[in-house]
């Protein structure tokens, strides 16, 4: 019994010796193949594989920054960015059989889309836009189908709720969201913000599993609060549009300023355009006429000649000036009044808008003193609002003014300014004779220094003279504002054509202030090239002034100060 197992054992051992070696060899060689492969992959092939792996999982993601909102002074939106999706196709990955499906979701004609993708494929391009600025819901519909080669990118579209009412002032952006016109361009850097970017690891289905590095945090653009009041802007636009249509005028513009602070409350021009729909957009309508166009102010400049005369101390409001016989010859040119007004006092010169009267005042002052006064009042000076296309006025130097030139600049010819500058000059009268720059952006502290132009008394005297203009005997009686006292000055200038002044083409201007006792608003209305029978500033622009002013004062809740307004006493009660 004992010999058998022993024999078996030796047999087993004998057999095992070669079998075991074989098995070990096989396993050993398999192991060494694996180890060899591992070593190979980890040493020789490693850089290549590592790079490829990173390429498949590592992504640099950019996050678009929201462009800041532009609002009016009460926070009503004037320009808002809404999210949209840019859809694009990689024609190399896109199979043409899917064209019909894409086209049906997008509501695009399949034939032309197919042609577009086919040409792109032939050209070997790997990027074409399918459609830009698509509504997020629609884009989601398409992207959910997960068609290969179709991608979406989140971006923003600019929308302007007030449309044509604020079009030229706010401006527009291009399809890439950069400012093109108006304040969108002027404050582009500030509004735009900076897009963020980060490095992430993504898994197969596109989920982020690890954030490696934040290169830049997305910074949303700043919000811009303007001094505009959308209600007043709308009123001004409506009345201006009505007047331009009624008089079949070429264009018009209006500027409404806060009399005390120089803040721009309304800035409109007509014709306008719809910034939300750029089909059929005309470049000329994009110009902000109140800022970019130069006009000759005509008689609206006369209050400043009178103010300069009063400041010289040689004249008082009741000083007599002889304007007879109603015309005057200077250097072969005849300056005329409407008729012979005879002897007028200084107030009367303004009331009747006498060219002879102001010419005599200007001659007494001389070119140097008049020029200095105009310059201090901001006439022919840059506004420096930073508006693109902002016009700088033109005012000849005193050495360039001969006796005729001096006479013409005293009644508003031979110098040029924008309606905005004219309005700014009128704020000198309402700010107690002080010149302050205009403001379009809301700011907390009112720190801008004030340059004295004339004394408080002179500014009051001129305001009282302006009130006589819109009395029944003045040239601007149609500018009366019901319920309020007002003052202003009419102006009519010949338009400048190819060969000098055009004979039968005019610019009608009215610049005024209300209420005159305690000025709240300054308004300048310019109607360019009215083609009806009426063309004088007092006939065309003054009624617009009246309508805008009345509604604006009411909206601003200014107490009616006209004596004719009926007053209701409430006994003992309190309101």
């Amino acid at each position: 019994m004992s010999a058998k197992p022993k024999q078996q054992k030796t047999e087993l051992q004998g057999m095992a010796s070669w079998r075991l070696v074989l098995v070990l060899l096989v396993f050993g060689s398999l192991l060494s193949v694996i180890v060899g492969r591992l070593v190979y992959l980890h040493t020789i092939d490693h850089p290549f594989l590592y790079e490829q792996g990173e390429k498949r999982t590592l992504r640099t993601e950019t996050q678009p920054a929201v462009r800041g909102t532009i609002t009016d002074r009460y926070g009503k939106p004037l320009a808002v960015s809404t999210p949209v999706v840019d859809l694009w196709i990689n024609p190399k990955l896109f199979s043409l059989e899917k064209t019909a499906e894409v086209a049906s979701v997008m509501g695009m004609p399949a034939v032309s889309l197919r042609k577009r993708i086919q040409t792109a494929q032939q050209q070997g391009r790997s990027f074409i836009y399918l459609k830009r600025q698509v509504q997020p819901a629609l884009a989601q519909n398409l992207l959910q189908k997960k068609i290969e080669g179709v991608y979406g990118e989140d971006t923003y579209r600019r929308f302007y709720p007030a449309a044509e009412v604020t079009a030229q002032t706010v401006g527009i952006v291009n399809i890439d969201g950069r400012g093109q016109e108006g304040l969108e361009l002027a404050y582009d850097q500030y509004l735009n913000g900076t897009p963020g970017s980060r490095k992430v690891v993504k898994d197969l289905s596109g989920n982020i599993i690890k954030q490696l590095q934040v290169k830049e945090v997305a910074k949303p653009g700043g919000d811009l609060a303007l001094t505009l009041d959308l209600r007043l802007q709308y009123v001004a636009y409506r009345e201006l549009t009505a007047a331009v249509n009624q008089h079949r005028a070429g264009s018009g513009s209006a500027v409404l300023l806060d009399a005390a602070t120089g803040e721009i409350l309304a800035l409109v021009s007509h014709p306008s355009y719809n910034p939300n729909n750029r089909a059929g957009l005309k470049a000329e309508n994009m110009r902000n006429r109140a800022i970019a166009d130069l006009i000759e102010p005509g008689s609206t400049i006369k209050p400043f000649v009178v103010a300069a005369a009063l400041m010289s101390g040689d004249y008082k409001p009741h000083t007599q000036v002889n304007t007879a016989p109603g015309y005057m010859r200077i250097k072969n040119k005849t300056i005329r009044d409407h008729r012979n007004y005879g002897v007028l006092d200084v107030t009367g010169i303004i009331t009747k808008s006498s060219n002879i009267g102001v010419t005599k005042l200007a001659q007494h002052l001389g070119a140097e003193r008049l020029w200095q006064f105009y310059t201090k009042a901001g006439i022919g000076q840059a506004n420096l609002l930073g508006f693109p296309g902002e016009a700088i006025g033109q005012m000849p130097y005193p050495e360039q003014l001969d006796s005729l030139g001096l006479a013409t600049v005293s009644y508003g010819y031979g110098l040029a300014m924008s309606p905005l500058q004219l309005a700014n000059a009128y704020t000198n009268l309402t700010q107690e004779g002080c010149h302050k720059p205009l403001k379009i952006q809301m700011s907390s502290g009112d720190t801008t220094p004030c340059e004295p132009v004339m004394t408080k008394e002179v500014s009051r005297q001129v305001l009282d003279m302006l009130q006589t203009v819109i009395s029944a005997k003045g040239t601007g009686s149609r500018a009366q504002v019901s319920g309020y006292t007002a003052g202003g000055k009419t102006g009519t200038a010949h338009r400048v054509g190819r060969s000098g002044y055009e004979h039968d083409s005019y610019t009608a201007v009215f610049a005024g202030i209300a209420p005159i006792g305690n000025p709240d608003l300054v308004l300048v209305v310019v109607i360019d090239d009215p083609k009806g029978k009426e063309y004088y500033g007092g006939e065309v622009a003054a009624p617009v002034f009246s309508r805008i002013m009345e509604q604006a004062l009411r909206l601003r809740q200014v107490l009616p100060d006209d004596g004719s307004a009926m007053s209701i006493q409430i006994a003992g009660g309190s309101l």
């Binding site: 808002v80 960015s81 599993i209 709308y234 307004a565 009926m566 309101l575």
Partner: protein, 82 residues
């Protein structure tokens, strides 16, 4: 002894790293969800702002007031004083 202790530290820090990277992933996922919510709310907000400003557009109000409510501008101005 020291060797055992150091090995223990190594193993522990390795385990901690696993834990921390797991937490990182969880937090990242949470953050992504919240960010998606933020974007969605932002979209909703800008849509509502536009809707409100379209509905309260001045020319629309003007028309509605005149046509539906027969309102006009006051003509005879009366000032209430106490």
């Amino acid at each position: 002894m020291l060797r055992v202790f150091l090995w223990g530290l190594v193993v522990m820090s390795a385990l901690l790293q696993i834990l921390v990277s797991h937490q990182h992933r969880a937090l990242l996922q949470q953050w992504q969800k919240q960010d998606a919510v933020r974007v969605q709310i932002q979209h909703e907000f800008s849509r509502l702002v536009l809707e409100r400003s379209t509905l309260s557009a001045h020319n629309r109000l003007d028309q509605q007031a005149r046509q539906k409510l027969q309102m006009t501008e006051p003509t005879q101005i009366q000032v209430l004083r106490k």
